[in-house]
C-alpha cells in the first residue's frame, strides 16, 4: 500500500516536470526511491532510442518492452543485442503474430511518416491474454529552418478472449512530441485510451489488422488533438498572460505610456 502511494507520487511528479527532461526526472526519482527502480523504469517512458540488429543490418526501437537484463530483443531476428543467450523469447505463436505486426506497421509508417519513420512491435503473454507494444519514432532536424522535433508514439494493447472466436482489444496510446525553434520549446505527452469489444477474429492476420486499424484511428485523433493543444491552447495561454495590444476598459486615470 505504502509502495503504491509512493509509486503514485513518482508518477505525479513525472506528470508535472518538463517532458523534455524526463531522463533527469527518471534518474532523480530512482535516486530518491531506489526500491521502486523496476516500477519507475516500467512506468516512466523515456524517449525512444534505436539499436542495430547486426545480423540483418536493420535498426529497431529499444524500450522496457523488449529489454531483458541489459540487452534488447530485435523484432527482425528475434535475437538479443548485445547477445544474451538466456534472454526471454516469445512463444512460436506469439512470434508469428509479432513478425506479421512488424511487417504491417512498417508499411503503415511508410504511409504516414515517410522517410525516417521507425517502428517496432513486441508481444508478450499477459495473465488474461496477449499484450503488445507498438512503438513509432520520427525525428526532424533542419539547419535551414532552425527547427528540431521528435515524435514518439507508444501503443500498448491488451487483447483478451471474449467468448468463442471473439476478442476485446484495449489500447492506451501515449504520444510524446517535442518541438523547438530559436526561443520556443514545446514538449509534452498526451494519452488516449480506446477499445473495441467482441471483435470476431479468425486468424492472426485478423488480430494484427484490428491493431493496425486502432493505431491509425488513435494516431489520427491524437494528431488533431495535439494540434489543438500545442498550437491552440498553449498559444491561447500565452496571450492570456500578456496582451500584445492594449487591454480594453482601462481606467481613464492611468498613466499612458504609448509611444508619442
Amino acid at each position: 500500500m505504502a509502495e503504491n502511494k509512493r509509486m503514485a507520487a513518482c508518477l505525479d511528479i513525472t506528470r508535472r516536470m518538463n517532458p523534455a527532461e524526463v531522463e533527469q526526472t527518471q534518474g532523480d526519482l530512482i535516486f530518491l526511491a531506489e526500491d521502486l527502480t523496476g516500477q519507475i523504469l516500467a512506468n516512466v517512458d523515456l524517449p525512444l532510442q534505436l539499436e542495430t540488429d547486426t545480423s540483418v543490418g536493420r535498426s529497431f526501437i529499444i524500450s522496457d518492452y523488449n529489454r531483458d537484463g541489459d540487452s534488447y530483443r530485435s523484432p527482425h531476428s528475434n535475437k538479443y543485442f548485445p547477445p544474451y543467450a538466456e534472454g526471454a523469447l516469445p512463444s512460436a505463436e506469439l512470434r508469428q503474430l509479432e513478425t506479421e505486426a512488424n511487417e504491417l506497421m512498417a508499411k503503415y509508417v511508410e504511409l504516414y511518416y515517410e522517410k525516417g519513420g521507425e517502428s517496432s512491435a513486441y508481444f508478450w503473454d499477459s495473465s488474461d491474454g496477449v499484450a503488445a507494444a507498438v512503438l513509432i519514432k520520427k525525428e526532424y532536424n533542419s539547419k535551414e529552418t532552425g527547427q528540431q522535433g521528435t515524435w514518439n508514439s507508444i501503443h500498448i494493447f491488451k487483447i483478451t478472449p471474449f467468448g468463442t472466436g471473439k476478442f476485446n482489444f484495449t489500447l492506451t496510446t501515449t504520444v510524446s512530441l517535442q518541438l523547438g525553434i530559436d526561443i520556443l520549446n514545446l514538449a509534452g505527452n498526451l494519452v488516449r485510451k480506446a477499445e473495441r469489444k467482441s471483435v470476431r477474429i479468425q486468424s492472426g492476420s485478423d488480430k494484427v489488422r484490428t491493431m493496425g486499424q486502432m493505431i491509425e484511428e488513435s494516431e489520427n485523433k491524437m494528431r488533431a488533438h495535439i494540434e489543438t493543444v500545442y498550437f491552440g491552447r498553449l498559444k491561447g495561454i500565452v496571450s492570456d498572460l500578456r496582451s500584445v495590444t492594449e487591454l480594453k476598459n482601462l481606467p481613464s486615470n492611468r498613466m499612458v505610456i504609448a509611444p508619442n
Partner: protein
C-alpha cells in the same frame, strides 16, 4: 558522517531542490507533497522546504497578497532585507513573509529614513511601469526597486510577474521579466530578461518554455519623466516583440516540423484500406 555519507546527503538535498525549483506555476506545493510521500516518514524534508521555497519564491518573483486586502505585491530578491523581510516599495511597507506558507504575515509602514534611496526617480518609474502593466497584463503585478549597479552606481530594478493558475481548466502559466536600469548620466544601460512558462495537463503533460534577453541603451538627461517613460516604452516594445516572435514560432513549427513528423493522412488523402495493405505485404 563519512565523506561518502555527506556526498550522498548533498545529492539528496540537491535532488529535492531540483524538483521543487522546476515546479510549474502554482504547483510547488503538489510537487513537495509528492516528494514527502516518496521519501517517506523516516526522512524529514521540511527544512529543505524552507531552503528551496525561499529560492523558488525569489526566483519566480512570487506574487503575495497583503493580508486583509486584495492588494498584490512581489517577493523579489531585490526587495529582500533578510530571509523573512521584504520591501514593498509601492506601498512603502515592510512585509514579513513566510516562504513555506507563501503568506505575508505582517506589514509595517516604512518610516521616512527607511525609504529606499533615490526614491523620487523610482516613484516616477513605478508610475509608468504600473501604466504599462495595467494595459498589457490582465493579472500582472509589478514592482520597481532601488538598487545598485555592479560598479556601485545607482540603479533601478523593474520586476513584472503575470501568473495565472487554473487547476480546474488544467493549466497554469507565468510571464515574468526583470529589467535592471543603470542610472548613469548620459546613457543608461538597461538589461532585461523575460520568459514564458506554461503547463497544460489535461490527459497529459505539455510544457512551453520560452525566454530571451535584451540590452538597451537609453539617453538619460535631466528630465526624469521623459527618461522613465522612454525606458518603459522600450520595455513594452521589447516584450511585445518577444511575444510576437513566440507567436510566429508557433506558426512556423506547426507548418513545418509538425507536418514533417507525422502527416495528417497518407499522400493518397484517404485513410488506409487495411485488407489491401495486408495483402500487399503478403505478395512481396
Amino acid at each position: 558522517m563519512s565523506d561518502e555519507q555527506i556526498d550522498e546527503e548533498t545529492d539528496f538535498q540537491e535532488t529535492i531542490g531540483r524538483f521543487i525549483l522546476a515546479s510549474p506555476p502554482g504547483e510547488e506545493n503538489d510537487v513537495f507533497h509528492s516528494l514527502e510521500t516518496i521519501v517517506g516518514p523516516s526522512k524529514d524534508i521540511s527544512g529543505l522546504k524552507e531552503t528551496y521555497f525561499h529560492q523558488l519564491n525569489s526566483e519566480q518573483l512570487f506574487v503575495a497578497t497583503i493580508p486583509g486586502t486584495s492588494e498584490k505585491c512581489l517577493i523579489a530578491p531585490f526587495g529582500e532585507i533578510d530571509e523573512t523581510h521584504y520591501l514593498d516599495p509601492k506601498g512603502s511597507r515592510l512585509l514579513t513573509f513566510d516562504h513555506v506558507s507563501q503568506k505575508v504575515t505582517e506589514t509595517r509602514e516604512l518610516s521616512e529614513d527607511e525609504l529606499p534611496p533615490h526614491d523620487a526617480i523610482r516613484k516616477v518609474m513605478e508610475k509608468y511601469v504600473d501604466g504599462y502593466v495595467l494595459a498589457h497584463f490582465p493579472q500582472g503585478v509589478s514592482a520597481v526597486y532601488a538598487s545598485n549597479s555592479p560598479d556601485g552606481g545607482e540603479a533601478l530594478v523593474i520586476c513584472i510577474n503575470s501568473t495565472i493558475v487554473k487547476p480546474t481548466s488544467m493549466w497554469g502559466g507565468r510571464f515574468k521579466s526583470t529589467w535592471v536600469v543603470e542610472l548613469k548620466p548620459g546613457n543608461a544601460t538597461v538589461n532585461g530578461q523575460y520568459e514564458f512558462f506554461t503547463h497544460f495537463f489535461e490527459a497529459g503533460n505539455v510544457h512551453l518554455h520560452s525566454q530571451d534577453t535584451a540590452e538597451l541603451s537609453i539617453p538619460h538627461g535631466d528630465d526624469n519623466e521623459a527618461f522613465c517613460k522612454a525606458v518603459v516604452v522600450k520595455i513594452m516594445e521589447h516584450e511585445s516583440k518577444f511575444q510576437m516572435s513566440v507567436d510566429d514560432s508557433f506558426l512556423r513549427l506547426s507548418e513545418t516540423s509538425f507536418k514533417q513528423l507525422r502527416m495528417q493522412l497518407p499522400r493518397s488523402k484517404t485513410t488506409i484500406n487495411w485488407e489491401t495493405l495486408q495483402f500487399q505485404g503478403k505478395i512481396q
